[in-house]
């Protein structure tokens, strides 16, 4: 009888233990892979850049303003160059690339935001992807500031 009782306790414990062990293999609290997040940020910022550049060109044309056109180019061409550097960093993703990535994103963000200033004055309504891309990119601002303070 005692054996049977022990078996009744032991067997469910073994089954529950096994189930627990297997559930540990699945990501029940998924941690985001840093490289995947970096790739997603760069790809979304690329869309933000395209949207901002198209709008900036349209505003300059509508206003027939060479000054606006020059401002658009001055803000967005360097932002693109930095975005490409960030993309290179995602492709490489070694220690140096990971360390540099946050400040590259912050730098791209700065140029895009300058161009958005022109769009705001022209009262251009931005699509949701812009807000989403900026929100993703903003996650890297504290990391860049922290590294810069070292």
């Amino acid at each position: 009888m005692r054996r049977l009782l022990a078996l009744c306790i032991l067997l469910p414990s073994l089954i529950l233990g096994a189930a627990g062990a297997f559930s540990g293999c699945s990501p029940n609290t998924p941690g985001l892979d840093p490289r995947a997040l970096a790739r997603g940020t760069v790809e979304t910022l690329e869309t933000v850049w395209l949207v901002s550049a198209k709008a900036c060109v349209e505003v300059a044309n509508d206003q027939q303003s060479q000054t606006t056109a020059d401002d658009c180019a001055n803000y967005l061409k360097p932002a693109r160059a930095v975005l490409l550097e960030a993309a290179d960093a995602v492709d490489i993703w070694d220690d140096t690339a990971q360390k540099n990535f946050p400040c590259l994103i912050v730098s791209a963000l700065s140029g895009i935001n300058d161009a958005r200033g022109i769009l705001a004055i022209a009262k251009i309504k931005e699509p949701q992807v812009v807000a989403d891309g900026l929100a993703l990119a903003a996650q890297y601002v504290p990391t860049c500031n922290k590294d810069a303070g070292k």
């Binding site: 395209l50 550049a53 060109v57 303003s65 060479q66 180019a73 967005l76 995602v90």
Partner: protein, 59 residues
């Protein structure tokens, strides 16, 4: 079972000969993947970047 093992052993030298070319192919795929994101962004944004550089507002 014995015949299967014999067939496997007979095929082994040919399989081993394939290994270097398979590794080379894998290395090419990895190199291609490494280039992917930056190249994609470069291509996607090239036309608009050129336009920004040469933009003369239409009158």
């Amino acid at each position: 079972m014995e015949s299967f093992l014999k067939a496997l052993l007979a095929a082994l030298p040919a399989l081993l000969q394939e290994v270097p070319s398979l590794i080379a192919e894998l290395e090419n795929i990895i190199a291609g993947a490494k280039e992917h994101l930056a190249d994609k962004i470069r291509q996607d944004t090239q036309a608009l970047n050129d336009e920004l550089g040469h933009l003369t507002p239409k009158k």
